[in-house]
């Protein structure tokens, strides 16, 4: 009979295959010997160290096996003939479950902004929006009213983010059609105008900084990591300033960069030049399903330099579809207890027949 034996002093490894797709099950050969192992379906699948499934993996796998952290991760879209080599314990800080703890607290968040750190509270309807028909302004008593878009203004084919400047009674909408335009309507003299072009930069959201007299527009992160800023008191010389932001640490943890659009940056408050941004799911999705807002990151940005600091984050991992199906109690490989319906990792059966 063929037998396999480790060098003296080296414990036998435990091999746990995990597979997302239904159908044929994975198999394991250990030093040429087929071994009987149960295939797990309850791990968040990933082949990459970027994205929410990797974050779910580094959180849930250690939890289920009762260890502090992953020792290493090797991955690729497709395996090659050259083997993966598992030779060392990685010191990569992102393998730590709470790796973001070290990133927050570096800067002081202005007192006026602290209460805003958290999930974005989606409104059922935005107070003002710009549609193909014109500005729609929500009213508390009389319902929403429409200010029709005249024919001497450019067409608006996609609903655009809009805000109201309470100081001057002006409505601003930022279109995403073609080059993108900032369109304004003055309630005082009932006049429309195109303020300036966005030069093909897509503003994802728009924030009115009443004190600083500026519109601040976080860009679509699929396009670039930056802010567009319009200084309102510049009148006819209005140009959109562009500020590139530093890397947004921890952003990849709340989406799957390979398969999903990036989160939306929502400006929720400003103190001087320090802007608080919450990265979250697109607001239209949040309105449909408020639960998706629970995965967020908070960033404090200096709007003059683009310097960014992470100042808060949601702790629970955002689990992909494979991990979402089953989140069982955590068995330890050092105990024999196992919850109902659980598949325990099996030790290798060394008496199986050779390949």
């Amino acid at each position: 009979m063929w037998r396999w034996q480790r060098a003296e002093g080296t414990p036998e490894p435990t091999v746990v295959p995990a597979q997302e797709q239904e159908g044929r099950s994975s198999e394991v050969l250990l030093n040429g010997v087929a071994v009987s192992v149960a295939v797990r379906k309850d791990f968040p699948f990933t082949h990459d160290t970027e994205g929410r499934n990797f974050r779910a993996l580094v959180t849930l796998v250690p939890e289920r096996f009762d260890v502090a952290r992953l020792a290493s991760f090797s991955g690729a879209y497709a395996a090659k003939e050259k083997p993966f080599e598992v030779t060392e314990v990685s010191d990569d800080a992102t393998y730590d479950v709470g790796y973001l703890k070290a990133e927050v607290g570096v800067v002081d968040v202005p007192e006026s902004l602290r209460h805003l750190i958290g999930p974005v509270k989606g409104k059922a309807q935005p107070p003002v929006k710009l549609t193909a028909q014109g500005f729609e302004v929500a009213g508390k008593i009389s319902g929403s009213r429409l200010i029709p878009l005249p024919l001497d203004m450019p067409e608006v084919s996609t609903a655009a983010e809009a805000v109201r400047d309470a100081t001057t009674g002006t409505l601003y909408g930022v279109t995403k059609d073609r080059e993108g335009l900032i369109i304004a309507y003055s309630e005082a003299d009932k006049s429309w105008r195109v303020v300036t072009s966005m030069d093909e930069n897509d503003a994802k959201t728009v924030f009115m900084d009443e004190v600083g007299r500026r519109l601040i527009m976080p860009m679509d992160l699929a396009q670039r990591t930056g802010l567009a800023i319009l200084y309102l008191d510049d009148g006819d010389d209005a140009l959109v300033d562009s500020v590139d932001m530093d890397e947004l640490i921890g952003l990849n943890d709340i989406y799957d960069p390979a398969n999903e659009l990036p989160p939306t940056l929502v400006a929720v408050g400003i103190d001087g030049d320090m802007l608080l941004l919450i990265a979250t799911k697109d607001q239209a999705l949040v309105r449909l399903d408020p639960s998706v807002a629970k995965h967020w990151r908070a960033y404090l940005v200096d709007v003059t330099t683009g310097e960014v600091d992470l100042v808060g984050y949601s702790g629970a991992p955002y689990i992909g579809k494979a991990g979402e199906a089953v989140v069982p109690p955590c068995p330890s490989i050092r105990t024999s207890r196992c919850g109902k319906g659980m598949v325990m990792p099996l030790s290798l059966n060394v008496s199986q027949s050779a390949r």
């Binding site: 063929w2 037998r3 797709q21 879209y77 083997p83």
Partner: protein
């Protein structure tokens, strides 16, 4: 009396070797490779494990079914 108790507890705590936590290593792929040396075959993935002296738990993760071929560096076969 108290001092003796502390000593006994110390013996109990340190007498048995603590159970070391295993190292959990993960390999993740979307799919295996299906051709080698001109031969077409089922999806394969190879892993070499070289962690002498360590208790290892190896999670082999794939999107679709794969035959995982694991070579343990310290292993040796014998009849």
């Amino acid at each position: 009396m108290f001092r003796i108790l502390v000593v006994i507890c110390g013996l109990v705590l340190t007498g048995a070797p603590a159970l070391a936590a295993p190292e959990v290593h993960v390999v993740g792929i979307y799919e295996g490779y299906g051709r080698s040396n001109g031969e077409v075959h089922g999806p394969l993935a190879k892993v070499v494990l070289d962690r002498p002296g360590a208790e290892v738990l190896l999670v082999l993760m794939s999107q679709s079914a794969v035959r995982w071929d694991v070579e343990v560096a310290e292993g040796r076969g014998h009849a």
